[in-house]
Symmetry: C7
Subunit: 97 residues, 7 copies
């Protein structure tokens, strides 16, 4: 389920935004990350499926396929071809795992 | 209805502003985007019909004809020749779809 | 009434400020702009009658004679030779129509 | 009373500040400016009597003797040799009239 | 009492800060400045007794010995060798008189 | 327990973020730091276990293995392979001890 | 007690932070500084015992051993080897005395 496949979602985020496919809200993952109890109702881990071109002089660091950790309230929900995604700024992402 | 035709609206947005023609509030579109339930009362997708010249050293990314996703409360409503549009800053736009 | 005549108002706006003569609050204009219902009590369209010299490295875009759209609460009212004007920053202007 | 005489007030405003002698609160002036009703209790027009040296790379635009319009709550009142003045930043000034 | 003598106070203000010796709260001074009624409880005029070295690329304008006007709530009170002073940023100073 | 071993945690913090392993909430440590009484419920000292690549032109100062002091409410808790960590910005760190 | 000895505290403040050893809350000090009445409950004077390396292009001004004045609520309390210190940013320091 966290297979890192480059999705073909037809969405081009603008500037420093990225499109994230949230991971399902399971407690123990293949990579050993446990979402803390206080955050169980919404996953804080996901996979980058599309990235913007960055801001002026600031290219993005994350790439399509990266598994990332992000804040519980980060981003805006959008649905593309029946699947839910989050669109957020790269600065909302804490780390690549 | 989401045909990407370059409109001849006589409005020149200033600086980093763009003029957007909102898509009708339908659940499933030709491109497969489903507006999430919580946003049904107002479409969050639209077509760029006019663009500003950008800010100093920051040309705009979106172009006339682009279908874009934007925040539910983005922009100011204006009516030109009987049709409703939104005028907003490019930074209010999340992605091109 | 929206005749674009260069007024001779003796006011020199400072920096990025412009002097705007608001259009009367009529629903349908010669250019086909309809002021939305929620804004009827105060026109959001006007004509530039004087412009500042811009800020450092940022010359103004609007010119005397331009018909512009601006926010409902933009600017400060002043009265010159018996007529009411608004003095506002260019950034309060959405578009030239 | 709005005679533009260069006063000899011994005050050197710092940086982007200017010293303004407010005009009396009369409705119709020699220059034809009517202070709007809502502002009658305090004049919004005055004469520049001293100017600062500007901020780094930003010299001031107004000069001693200019009649200016400024915001109703702009500046700080000071009294010099028995006369009341306002000391304010140039950015508080809307226009030269 | 407003004699402009260079004090030997052993205080070196940092960056853009200055040390000010407030003038006594008298209504009419030797220089003809009247503190407005609303500010009588605390003097708004004082003498510079020590200055910082300025911020990067922004040397200070005021010098030791200058009589200055400053905002009623400007600065922090400190007592050195039994006398009360105010330490404030130069930007809190309106003018040299 | 505060042995400075470079952990092999598979987390790459973004930009100016670092991953910190908090020290246990004991009063007296091997290095002689006493957490003040008011902060006992949560340790303010920890060990850097992963660092970001820094922001543009601003490389990070702390290194993996550094023992650091940080604010009581700094960072976001994440759990990796059963252990709790904090991910925070370097600017939340006060000092290396 | 305010002897200016370079302490050997094993704390390296980050960036523009400094470690300060607060002076005891006595009214009259050897240097003649009287803490004003309103601040008696907590000293506002101390000695620099460690300094950071400064921010980019902004080296610090204070040095280890300097006696400084700082705001009453400046800094965060930490205890090192049984003694209480304050860690604060240099900008919280008003002056060297």
């Amino acid at each position: 389920m966290e297979a890192v496949t480059e999705s073909k979602v037809n969405v081009r985020p603008l500037a420093d935004r990225v499109l994230v496919e949230p991971a399902p809200a399971e407690e123990k993952t293949a990579f050993g990350i446990i979402i803390p109890d206080t955050a169980k109702e919404k996953p804080q881990r996901g996979t980058i499926v599309a990235v913007g071109t960055g801001k002026k002089d600031e290219p993005l660091t994350v790439q399509v396929g990266d598994t990332v950790l992000y804040g519980k309230y980060a981003g805006t929900e959008i649905t593309v071809e029946g699947k839910e995604y989050l669109i957020m700024r790269e600065s909302d992402i804490f780390a690549i795992v």
